[in-house]
Assembly symmetry: C2
Homo-oligomer: 348 residues x 2
């Protein structure tokens, strides 16, 4: 009986983490999450599991076709290095391609990544071997209707330390940004307002700073234009304790659904002309250009040995188009969008 | 009368270069080409002008729709730095997108490019300012029918020297490679045989060496597969005198039409299923991945200040597609192609 009641008590302990709503079991064993639940690594994993599930379910709610996300729970080639959960919905009625991925991994830092981290200002002595931990959620949603914008968001927590447990670093990064095909100023204002509210609850300087960082980051240099109308972006966010920042990151991640879903609901059944569809595909070509040439997350993936490439490139659209010398007609809606991509505006 | 007869004689002199078949007037003034016609810069410009025209006309001959190349003759932002001639055919019956570009430019070498040239082994003292001259032809042809492969070729001549005319370097680079959607072994053998003949006329070691270089170069590392079934690729080709290599480069460039046109003629009217078209678009997605992430010419373009981006990215297909986790059925034709992309074969 003693043994039995111990089992029940262990089960009860585990059940203090409610995983019933997640898309799959967490990457880390539930018992380890339970044991370390005050540790930021566990807190971040549980946050991104919840956000993934809430976002996927909100999107599924917009599919009257009943299309659901497929859920792939995968591990790294070396299973002790962790893995991820990749949820993808393809060829839906509302969403042409939607990907929501979480990764939780812990692996040796390659020399190439170590050098690139150092170039970004991290103190990582060259004679030490580092391991890094990363837990992040990353998502890109490409709707079918050109009047519904594409959204991207990514929130991540990093830890790094040398073999001896010294030279510790940790930081958060993330952001949410919008890529419309046609400029609906009300929509863009709504989107930015929601992000601003999340920022303002933590620090009034966050929104202006991270809005500008976003405009600077999502820049296709060789086109002289941004990928979209921005949002917020930050990286290398540190403080006294990770807990001081976690609340902010959580607030940002929770603002994805209220910032985006109203735009989906509003436009997913808008009438669409062939010319509008073509323009959407051309803009998706630009999306591909940014993601393959500039995106830090994609490059990090390419540089990670044995990375799960399908989870990285799920961000690419189902269709894209490149026309030689496509220049929008002056004063057209296409030209108006392009103008804002070249000269970003303040929206709130 | 003396003045007049001088004029006539000058005109006669100019007419020794026949430009009547070119797609446009050469980038360099005809009088300068005439004056320096023994110089490799002029010889290379005239070669690529002729190759561009011969190739474009051969392709137009396969368009029963009558679709022709549009010809854009452009100059760099600073016109004294040269320019190019970009010929593009879009939405033809046989060719979905075909681009044949020549560039002839002479400009200061940016610090970024100087560093990357140095990394490739060029001796370019850091305290010197260099100018470079480049004349090259570059082409990518995306046919509509998935049974006709995509071809790419590029032949280029570089010169580099410091402000004082010292530290001179020159070299040739180039190659021709084939990207089929379905593996027709006879076609691939024909293609490689023509390239091998061109190589063998100059040096029996060229073909095996440049065939391997091609397989190594057109490698999408994160996919573990090559872009296509290869061909030849070489770079940094030097000798005692540029003339010692020019004949080889000319032979390679002249072999493009006989290596490729028979495949176009053979397959351009093959029946096509929807599944075949879809597979073609997926493979075009991989083409985009290679060109944006790895291609040296594209990166050189991105790193060149004020580069004409439309001439660089004319290589991208009109349509491309990305599906999450698309894996060909075992033993399917798609799987057979993929197998050869992972493990390149000898074809002749």
């Amino acid at each position: 009986y003693a043994a039995c009641s111990q089992n029940v008590s262990a089960a009860q302990k585990v059940s203090t983490i409610d995983t019933s709503q997640f898309m799959a079991a967490p990457v880390t064993d539930l018992s380890d999450l339970e044991k370390n639940k005050e540790d930021m690594k566990a807190k971040m994993e549980l946050l991104i599991m919840r956000i993934q599930s809430e976002f996927c379910k909100a999107l599924e709610g917009e599919e009257s076709s009943g299309t659901k996300f497929t859920v792939d729970r995968w591990r790294r080639h070396n299973p002790s290095e962790g893995g991820g959960i990749t949820c993808v919905m393809q060829d839906g009625e509302t969403f042409e391609k939607a990907g929501v991925n979480i990764t939780v991994m812990s692996a040796p830092l390659s020399k190439q990544l170590q050098a690139s981290m150092r170039a970004r200002g991290k103190e990582l002595p060259d004679d030490k071997q580092f391991t890094f931990f990363a837990a992040g959620i990353s998502s890109v949603i490409h709707p079918r209707n050109p009047h519904v914008p594409t959204i991207h968001f990514n929130y991540r927590y990093f830890e790094m330390q040398d073999e001896d447990g010294n030279n510790k670093h940790w930081w958060f990064g993330g952001g949410t940004d919008l890529t419309p095909y046609f400029l609906e100023e009300d929509d863009v204002r709504h989107f930015h307002s929601v992000l601003k509210s999340s920022c303002d609850r933590h620090n009034p300087q966050y929104y202006p700073k991270y809005k500008k960082w976003c405009d600077d980051y999502f820049f296709i240099k060789f086109r002289g234009e941004r990928r979209g109308v921005g949002g917020i972006f930050f990286d290398d966010l540190e403080a006294e304790k990770p807990e001081d920042i976690f609340g902010f990151v959580q607030d940002c991640a929770e603002s994805v659904v209220p910032s985006y879903l109203p735009l989906v609901k509003k436009h997913r059944q808008d009438p669409v002309s062939e010319a509008e569809r073509r323009w959407q595909l051309l803009r998706r070509g630009r999306y591909v250009e940014f993601n393959l040439v500039y995106d830090r997350g994609t490059k990090f993936g390419f540089a990670t040995p044995n990375a799960r490439i399908e989870s990285i490139l799920m961000s690419l659209p189902l269709h894209a188009r490149w026309e030689y010398m496509h220049i929008p007609e002056p004063d057209s809606r296409e030209a108006k969008l392009t103008e804002v991509l070249k000269n970003p505006k303040d929206w709130v």
